[in-house]
Amino acid sequence: MTTGMTPIVKNTARLVSGFIAIFGIYIAMTGHVSPGGGFAGGVILAAAAVLVVLAFGRDTAEQIITESRCHIYDAAGAGLFLLVALCGYFTGGFFVNFIARHSVGEVGHLASGGTIIVSNLFIMVKVAAGLAGGFLALAAFRRANLPDGHPAEEL
């Protein structure tokens, strides 16, 4: 139905979206040593997906980002985050940071903070998939019966 925007926009989006996605992953991965974190990273990743959907149109974008895939990644991210929390049961209780109890690592380096980096990545997957899927669902929504002959909207 929608074919997306002009070639200029498409090419720019093709170039930029990858960088945005990498930036999102970077923000999520370094959350424990610098500002950022899983939520910000996830939202940035979702913004990359939104850019692709807007530039190429929903139908083209759905070849990569489908709603059902988003659902599965959304649930998997949330479930894995919970799994990290449940793993704490082996070393004392719910949400025990079992790696940091063993060794906190060198503060300021990437390998520090125990489960924080893992949790951040899972949250990133969850938030990115959730928001991208939610945006797709909203973009897919079109009015069935237009009140007084509005033109069908384009997005």
Binding site: H71, A75, A76, G79, L82, G93, F95
Partner: protein, 510 residues
């Protein structure tokens, strides 16, 4: 034993994630409904295991309770929380069984199951929270799930009701967060026990009162106390019947009344100011809810207004208990009786209002209408549903020997013993009004000639009848087994409230 407590929240949430993933895998899709029922059943069993145990203070993540590490979020496993857990998981289980047959009319039922599990898990989280901000977070999860569930039918009426519910609910949440903010800036703590200890030093300064006012206003919006009730008469009837049963039976209690009781008694401490606010809210809700319900001809709207009125009873009992406890010479026996009456009524209302909403759902499905005037003779054509509906109506109307009679009697006696004769008269008058209201339901729905659509009505599917029978049995059993229930379920809960601000910090160092 304390290691089960976090599971009560984590398990339903995790399984809700699993339900969503399963819905996209071929072959697993039909397993979501049994899974959801199994999860809630497991939760109920865990709750009963917990009921017999003494739970020490639990800190998530191992950050506590010794003062060297006391940094984490506390979870409460005391009598009050256990009582609420029993109510939540019992009604949730019955509603889910009922939904197995009822939700066939709806599309994408797995969404319903996932949202329902998330709401149940979040409500467990609310009643287990021992930390102000954690309480807010789980209130939000439960509230957002309930907005979506109210709109689940996706028709105009549902959407409009859900939108109004969402707007008022979000304003309530903003006020709750504002209250938490002010309390944090005053005390530097979020842990309820630590905040309570700090507040005892501070007393009631204007800033504390502002925080309390913001919290009570926000939570009253969630509990639909008059004058914050505008959303409830639209939202509860619009939802699918199992969701209405959950909202009226449990959600307004877990995220409204329970949270008010916990904060007023255990964090702020019962003082005359808070007692007056609670009494005013409770009395207004009782009277106005009853008056508006009397004029309704739509069965589900009548039940919704009646929920406001019955919730008013509970808040009134809590308010009078707070007033008695704030006197110069507090009379523990009278306050205890008030609290017992209020908590017993909370349990009873969950049982019979859940039952009545589910019964109204099966009537609506079989007859095709919610208008009382278009029904009639259902006691004959739908025997099981009619019989259970009659038990529910008799219970809520306060006819002996059902449970509603005892809880209302206890509240009225306790009000008299507290020398609150005006309130006592109001409570008795509202009880009479409630009786009239349910005589009307009996007269028009169950008795009389079957006219129009009601003539062809047949009995509801087996699963729906099973759910109704279970709740009807609970109603009868709670009336008969009042004394053992008091000793094992309501007694510990009452003691938590009676201990006021000392309750949360017993055995604590921080």
């Amino acid at each position: 034993m304390e290691s089960i407590v976090p599971l009560l929240v984590a398990f339903p949430l995790g399984m809700a994630f699993a339900v969503v993933a399963m819905a996209h895998v071929k072959g697993l899709k039909r397993l979501t409904a049994p899974l959801a029922v199994g999860v809630v059943l497991a939760n109920l069993i865990l709750t009963f295991i917990l009921l017999g145990a003494v739970v020490p203070r639990i800190f998530v993540g191992g950050w506590g309770p010794d003062p060297e590490k006391a940094l984490g979020i506390e979870m409460l496993g005391d009598g009050l929380s256990k009582m609420m857990l029993v109510i939540i998981n019992l009604v949730a289980l019955v509603s889910l069984i009922f939904a197995g047959a009822y939700m066939r009319r709806f599309t994408k039922v797995w969404l319903f199951q996932a949202l329902f599990l998330l709401m149940t898990g979040a409500m467990n989280g609310v009643v287990l929270a021992g930390d102000l901000f954690n309480l807010f977070v789980f209130l939000e999860v439960a509230a957002i799930a309930s907005y979506a569930l109210v709109a689940f039918g996706c028709e105009s009426e549902e959407l409009e009701a859900a939108f109004r519910y969402l707007v008022l609910g979000t304003v309530g949440s903003a006020f709750i967060l504002l209250g938490v903010t002010i309390l944090y800036s005053l005390t530097g703590q979020l842990n309820m026990a630590a905040v309570a200890q700090k507040l005892e030093l501070i007393g009631t300064s204007p800033a504390v009162l502002l925080a309390a006012a913001a919290l009570i206003a926000g939570l009253s919006l969630k509990a639909a106390m008059v004058p914050f009730h505008a959303w409830l008469p639209d939202a509860h009837p619009s939802a699918p019947a199992p969701v209405s049963a959950m909202l009226s039976g449990v959600l307004i209690k877990a995220s409204g009344i329970y949270a008010i009781a916990r904060l007023v008694f255990n964090v702020f401490g019962p003082t005359p100011q808070y007692a007056t606010i609670l009494i005013a809210l409770g009395a207004a809700s009782m009277v106005l809810g009853m008056l508006m319900a009397l004029g309704q001809w739509d069965l589900k709207r009548l039940l919704a207004y009646s929920s406001i009125s019955q919730a008013g009873y509970i808040i009134l009992a809590l308010g009078v208990a707070a007033e008695v406890m704030s006197r110069a010479q507090p009379d523990e026996a009278v306050a205890g009786l008030c609290l017992f009456g209020g908590l017993f009524h909370l349990f009873n209302h969950a049982a019979f209002k859940g039952l009545l909403f589910l019964a109204s759902g099966s009537i609506e499905q079989q007859v095709g209408t919610r208008q009382l005037k278009e029904m009639g003779g259902l006691g004959r054509s739908m025997r099981v549903t009619g019989f259970c509906c009659r038990i529910g109506a008799l219970s809520i109307a306060g006819v002996p020997p059902f449970n509603g009679f005892f809880s209302k009697l206890i509240i009225i006696i306790a009000l008299a013993m507290a020398h609150q004769y005006v309130l006592c008269a109001i409570a008795a008058g509202v009880a009479v009004g409630t009786l009239l209201m349910y005589v009307k339901v009996q007269r028009y729905a169950l008795e009389g000639p079957a006219s129009g659509r009601a003539a062809g009505a047949t009995e509801a599917p087996v699963l729906m009848c099973v759910a109704l029978v279970v709740l009807a049995a609970v109603c009868v059993a709670a009336g008969v087994a009042m004394v053992p229930l008091r000793d094992h379920l309501f007694g510990p809960a009452r003691d938590v409230l009676l201990e006021a601000t000392k309750a949360l910090s017993t055995g604590v160092i921080r």
